[in-house]
């Protein structure tokens, strides 16, 4: 059984085929990394999966709560989120005028379908649940700080907590460690892997840091110019001569 199934996904911008027929599956609890040089089609692929871009062709199927596969191709981001897909952004996107806890509470309010309430203060909603999520990513001690003044690594962790608020079955992480210090990178992704394992969340991530990719990924997809040129476990990808040539360089 898989959580996500992508069939022959395509997107062109003018004459450029950004994603030219991409197919793959993703199992629950699996960490799948997408790598490739700039312009390989990683971001386009991500933006189609989370609904920011509509594919030209192809299908995206997501496992529902009872295991049946649902077609989510072309749905807007907020509906895809409702179906159990969390995401983090390459450039962090959080609510700067709120505290860390309120950021998570806002996501929980939406998850619990309590957004259209006009009376009871929002920051009294699901405080313990928000704190559990923050504890999960190691941000509990900063729960009352404004999100606008957090260090970058902390923002990334807050994003992860927000992304986990709807108990997703699929987590999409676009360059989750960009802009972080090396030690923080491994810590964040190890944490993500623990969550994937314990809660059966399927994780799809792009990443430029090869230490992180080979350290935490169960499987790797290599894209180049919109095509899938290789797929396999880290050890196999590392030894693939073609990939060394186009992407990794001889030094690895």
């Amino acid at each position: 059984m898989s959580t996500l199934e992508v069939r022959d996904l395509r997107k062109s911008f003018g004459a450029i085929d950004a994603v030219a027929g991409l197919s793959f599956t993703l199992a629950p609890g699996e960490m799948l990394a997408v790598i490739g040089p700039n312009g390989a089609g990683k971001s386009t692929c991500f933006n189609m999966l989370n609904g920011q871009l509509r594919p030209d062709a192809g299908k995206i199927l997501l496992a529902g709560p009872n295991g049946t596969m649902q077609d989510i191709t072309g749905l807007p981001p907020r509906e895809i989120w409702r179906l159990g897909v969390g995401r983090t952004f390459q450039i962090t996107a959080t609510f700067a005028s709120m505290t860390v806890r309120e950021n998570v509470q806002t996501a929980l309010l939406s998850h619990h379908r309590r957004t259209w309430r006009f009376w009871r203060p929002a920051n009294r909603h699901a405080g313990p649940e928000a704190d559990r999520l923050l504890a999960r990513v190691g941000m509990q001690s900063q729960a009352d700080r404004p999100a606008g003044i957090l260090a970058y690594g902390d923002l990334k962790r807050l994003e992860l907590a927000i992304a986990l608020a709807n108990a997703p079955r699929l987590l999409l992480m676009d360059e989750p460690t960009a802009g972080m210090a090396p030690a923080e990178r491994t810590a964040l992704m190890t944490l993500t892997r623990d969550i994937a394992r314990t809660e059966g969340v399927a994780v799809l991530f792009t990443e430029h840091d090869m230490d992180v990719v080979f350290g935490v990924a169960d499987r790797i997809l290599v894209l180049n110019r919109g095509h899938l040129i290789a797929e396999g476990p880290p050890a196999e990808i590392r030894e693939n001569p073609e990939i060394r040539a186009v992407y990794l360089g001889a030094h690895i």
Partner: protein, 614 residues
């Protein structure tokens, strides 16, 4: 056919004048991102300065041309001075604060012109060559109109040459696309900005000078011109010179035919065109989506519920306000009633502008619709106070729901301009539909009967409804809806990624704000006993903007503090001579001193004070 050609030529002539003003505005906006409300004032100064110069020169064509050029140079110098003295200090401030500062300048210039040139409209006596006519295709056509038709394209050509053939023009175009990058490349931004502002001001002055022979220099032209110029710039696409030219042609010609064919709706026509263009092309005819200026990505202040100290202060002020009728005289009671109404009016704007991130230049529309709804409830339906107070927010809220459907899909200045367009349409309807609204004479005799006849009772009613309403809005902002709304403002991307429906949330905020403003309008109608089209006019929309920005848009107490401060200030200054000058100067000084508003500055001071506590 003759009629068609004549109207077309007349339209082209007025298109040229429109273009001159709009060109300056769009160039200034493109580079400095300043929405210059004072652009019409520069135009007005141009007309007055031209009068002063031309009425002293011999009346030959050569001297006329010289005088016009001298006027353009003089207004350019004034513009440069304005940029150096004021706007330069505000580039890092939130966009809307610059708008507020330039509105302060509008007030100052109005009274300065009144003091210097007097209240009488000034026209120059037109020499024969100016009054002559030429023949075009067998038709006699005013010579001066032909000159104007030529000036527009000539100025466009010169500007395009300037922008595309000089190094300075290259920098201006680069800065229009990405001013941070231009700064990073080592370009002296100060000189660039000042010169661009001077150029824009000079164009406005040129427009004013060229408009003089066809009319007069008067004190009303500033707001009239700046509204038209805004429309042209927005229809063309902010920052696009070619777009401004196209839009000026479109609107100039349309107006020329509209006046003859559809005289009833002339006031509405322009704004209908703008609304239609914006709905079809949200960034204007030739405009591009604005790139967010990186340096301006101001850290959004965290918003916290009121602490114990602030709550105590609020309760104390409320108690004082309730006891006021026992202490103050009738005049002050009127002022306080107006202040209470202003509080709800400002708080409703704040809801959409602060947490909603949708600044409106036309908030008075909802106030006015509420006021007229109350008037109809009383006059046409024969209902009492309660009927009117119930009907007003319903009417304004429903209208806001309909208009909001178009508005909430836009952002920034375009959104603001669309709200302005709607407010102008509403104003024009109330002004021109005399049979129903009484036109300029308004609707009188709305005094409520019975208990509310007592001014004190009316004051308490206003206090209960308006301050109560404002507190209710505040409650909403801290409720889940308010958080969701703020989330869509803070990060649209993240809001969508947690399932929030931004357009619906914004639409709801828009309708709530409209309904609340409508209620404040109804209370105002009953307190004053009358309604007039001016309730919906631009200056009244600006009142709300000033109150919110003065108080501080990023604080929840801001609109309340700002509305009270502004109402009291206004009524205190209103009785004195040259009150506009004083008020304008005060606004400018407050903006310079407290870029975060009064409440924002107080909050910052309080935080500093607390940090020194053990």
């Amino acid at each position: 056919m003759d009629f068609f050609l004549l109207q077309l030529l007349t339209g082209l002539a007025s298109a040229s004048s429109l273009f001159l003003v709009a060109a300056g505005l769009t160039v200034i906006f493109g580079v400095t991102r300043v929405v210059n409300f004072a652009h019409g004032s520069l135009f007005m100064l141009g007309a007055y300065i031209a009068w002063s110069i031309l009425s002293r020169l011999p009346r030959t064509p050569e001297h006329f041309a010289l005088g016009v050029l001298a006027t353009a140079l003089a207004t350019a110098a004034i513009g440069a001075l304005l940029e150096i003295a004021l706007l330069r200090r505000l580039y890092r401030a939130p966009e809307l604060l610059q708008l507020l500062a330039t509105f302060g300048v509008v007030l100052v210039v109005q009274d300065a012109a009144l003091w210097f040139w007097g209240p009488v409209d000034l026209a120059i006596s037109r020499p024969p060559w100016l009054r002559g006519a030429i023949e075009i295709a067998g038709l006699r056509f005013p010579f001066y109109d032909a000159v104007l038709i030529a000036v527009g394209p000539a100025v466009l050509g010169l500007l395009l040459l300037l922008f595309h053939r000089t190094r300075w023009g290259l920098l201006v175009r680069a800065a229009t696309q990405d001013r941070d990058m231009v700064a990073a490349l080592g370009v002296n931004q100060r000189v660039l900005y000042t010169s661009v502002f001077a150029l824009g001001a000079g164009l406005a002055g040129l427009g004013g000078a060229l408009a003089l022979p066809q009319g007069s220099a008067n004190l009303q032209m500033d707001l009239a011109v700046v509204t038209d110029a805004f429309v042209v710039v927005v229809v063309g696409g902010m920052g696009s010179l070619g777009g401004a030219f196209l839009a000026a042609l479109l609107i100039g010609v349309l107006q020329a035919f509209g006046i003859v064919l559809l005289p009833k709706i002339t006031l509405v026509l322009v704004f209908l065109v703008m609304a239609a263009v914006l709905v079809l092309r949200p960034h204007g005819l030739l405009g591009r989506p604005q790139t967010a200026a990186r340096s301006e990505a101001e850290a959004l202040a965290p918003i916290r519920p009121a602490g114990a100290a602030l709550q105590a202060a609020g309760l104390a002020s409320l108690a004082l306000a309730m006891a006021a009728p026992f202490v103050v005289g009738p005049y002050l009671l009127t002022v306080l009633t107006e202040a209470a109404i202003a509080v709800l009016f400002a708080a409703s704007l704040h809801l959409m502008m602060g947490p909603g991130g949708m600044a409106s230049f036309g908030h008075a529309a909802w106030f006015g619709i509420g006021a007229y709804a109350a008037a109809f409830a009383t006059k046409a339906l024969g209902g009492g106070l309660a009927t009117g107070l119930l009907l007003a927010p319903l009417a304004a809220g429903t209208m806001a729901l309909v208009i909001g459907w178009f508005v909430v899909r836009m952002s920034g200045v375009y959104l603001a301009m669309l709200t302005l367009a709607f407010a102008q349409i509403a104003w024009a309807v109330s002004f021109q539909w005399v049979e129903v609204t009484g036109g300029d004479n308004g609707i009188l005799g709305l005094w409520p009967q019975g208990w509310a006849m007592d001014p004190r009772a009316m004051y308490w009613l206003a206090l209960a409804l308006c301050v109560g309403g404002a507190l209710l809005l505040r409650r909403i902002l801290f409720a889940p809806f308010g958080f969701a709304l703020r989330a869509t403002r803070d990060s649209p991307l993240r809001a969508a990624a947690i399932g929030l429906d931004a357009p619906r949330l914004r639409l709801a905020a828009f309708a709530i704000a409209g309904a609340a403003a409508g209620l404040s309008g109804a209370v105002f109608a009953y307190a004053k006993g009358s309604v007039f089209p001016t309730y919906m006019a631009i200056p009244h929309s600006v009142d709300a903007l000033v109150a919110v920005l003065l108080g501080g848009v990023q604080t929840m107490a801001g609109p309340i503090v700002g509305a009270v401060a502004f109402t009291v200030l206004q009524s205190w200054l209103l009785t004195s001579e040259f009150w506009r000058f004083k008020l304008g100067l005060l606004i400018v000084l407050l903006v310079l001193a407290f870029p975060g508003g009064i409440a924002g500055a107080a909050a910052a001071a309080w935080n500093r004070f607390r940090r020194y506590q053990p």
